[in-house]
Symmetry: C2
Amino acid sequence: MADRKIRLGIAGLGRAFTLMLPTFTADPRIELVAASDLRDDARKQFENEFGARSYGAIEDLCRDPDVDAVYVATPHQMHAQHVAIAARHGKHVLVEKPMAIALDQCQAMIDAAKKAGVILVIGHSHSFNAPILHTRALIDSGAYGAVRMIHALNYTDYMVRPRRPEEMDTAQGGGVLFSQGAHQIDIVRLLGGGQVRSVRALTGNWDRSRPTEGAYSALLTFDDGAFASCTYSGYAHFDSDEFMGWIGEMGLRKDPSRYGAGRAALQAATNADEEAALKAERNYGGKNYAPSSHAVSPERLHQHFGTIIVSCERADLRPMAGGVMIYDDKEARLDPVPVPKVPRAEVIDEFYDAIVHGKSPLHDGAWSMATLEVCLAILQSAKTRAEVPTKHPIAVRT
Amino acid sequence: MADRKIRLGIAGLGRAFTLMLPTFTADPRIELVAASDLRDDARKQFENEFGARSYGAIEDLCRDPDVDAVYVATPHQMHAQHVAIAARHGKHVLVEKPMAIALDQCQAMIDAAKKAGVILVIGHSHSFNAPILHTRALIDSGAYGAVRMIHALNYTDYMVRPRRPEEMDTAQGGGVLFSQGAHQIDIVRLLGGGQVRSVRALTGNWDRSRPTEGAYSALLTFDDGAFASCTYSGYAHFDSDEFMGWIGEMGLRKDPSRYGAGRAALQAATNADEEAALKAERNYGGKNYAPSSHAVSPERLHQHFGTIIVSCERADLRPMAGGVMIYDDKEARLDPVPVPKVPRAEVIDEFYDAIVHGKSPLHDGAWSMATLEVCLAILQSAKTRAEVPTKHPIAVRT
């Protein structure tokens, strides 16, 4: 099907890679040719599994002439530096969300890609999910009128999953704004037209043993007068996937008997080192590593990031795991969206089309920098207790 | 059971009265002795149904020596004037929400009641609902730690129900802030401890033929650092009672085949007069009047005002139509709350206990004035696009 394959090098064999691996192995447009990681065990597993090369340093990965493009899935705070390296070696770059942890880093990444003439796409994030993109298409059809209000809600146990210490330090990109806001805000911007004008928000930092932001509520205003309310809790006991038909983030049915399993698992760790080890063991190359199950389930639906309700003039639109619920004057109906054969194929669609067919990607540097700006504005607004105007609003490319 | 009855006079036989009538007739602590209304038909029906007196003017009702207390259910903008009349005649007063439409009116009502030595309670509102009060009691128990964040969400067709013209004029108390915010904000204040410190909000005014606020999103900050996000849409096509197990506001199971019935009914009216007539006909004394069905259904559950999630330090609490869902570290369970035999008996509990047993009511004038202040702050914040501090924060009496 594919006229050519992208020979992909992986920078960072951690959690994000684990979740993208089913995509990379199943999508015929991708060939895994090399990887870099600091961990010997992870590199060894990669070499064995894919008959591919591996490196300790990302510089060496980027020097590999067989690599067309690099997937940067290193810790958030390293993204800018690693994108610069990849671009300097003429590699196209797919960078995991969040794009970076500061706006000057984003600008440097954009500049580096532009100077090198390489493609820069930021993803995966859940704004790539087909039901989100289909909701955007329904809005663009004009059938339901302008977007007036968006509501986004997600309650998870993000904060009680095993973490490395830096993931609990906001200055190093820790907390939910960088990791989780990057999903929710990107989705809300995509559906609201993109151009957020101002942000007012409160954040919650409620666990002394994990001193970073684990929850937020934010009000966003858009340039056309529309507004959005976004609420996220990573401390939640209530699981808002109840509102998504008990389909979890990865598109799989949730087992209610697993209630509280995350918190219980965390209690097995008595200090930060043990906790970091707990996380590492489950990662690629770790002794408790298991491939992500979302790729193989025959009942897999779309991935999602919680409840999203888009109120248009003549209908409410609600992306779900099976498609988009359209509530109009006459009826409520599910507009089904086919589940891609390869999970997260939407990311490869965008990256591949940009590299091979010259199509401008939706999730490019400028777009994703604007999402980070909103996430940073949420942190700032909560700190200053004031409205924060944005300086780099970017409209969605439709 | 009751040591004595409150002989109640009704001021205003409109929609609010219709919804309270099942309470007044079924609660043994209440005796309906008189009413006032401008409409002959409504007065006649009241006289026939209760063998009671009726008056055209509220002054005459308040002069009636058989009346102990007056239920003021006249249009919002008349509440202050009517409470003053009732108090002047030494009658205790139960005033429908919203308390009034301006803070000076509230203060005048408080002063009038104090000067006359009469009880002033503001209700019904859904913050009287037993699951809300039980959630408050669970918080007060200390078992779950401090309240950190509250989320409130309600999507209804409020704006497409038949209305009188004044109900679509914000200056006269029209729009969702006065009628619906009075429920949601009162609940959120009650669960958050009461003392809202500041408000940032956006409102939606999206229907040119109904030029008032029909939707809002608001961020409230509390004095102790907790915060709340409150979203309401009265334009909704999506019905958020889906999140309440398809139990509607009145505690009854919803029939999904009635989707869109409100909008369809409204289309029968071609102008404002016809629409007002449509509403009047369904009111007490009107030709299409039917008693509210919520009192008689054997399957009746608690009334509610949409999704409320209270995030405490060690649990999320979620008032539902059957009780309170408690999501703690170990399990998610429903803490059942018995449904009162008489719907909205909680209102009579508070009013009666204040009058007969001298117990200070929760929903007194100062409390309810603080709720109105937040609703007005939402309107102001949306207009000025700025944070609005409150001047009259009141703590919940626990």
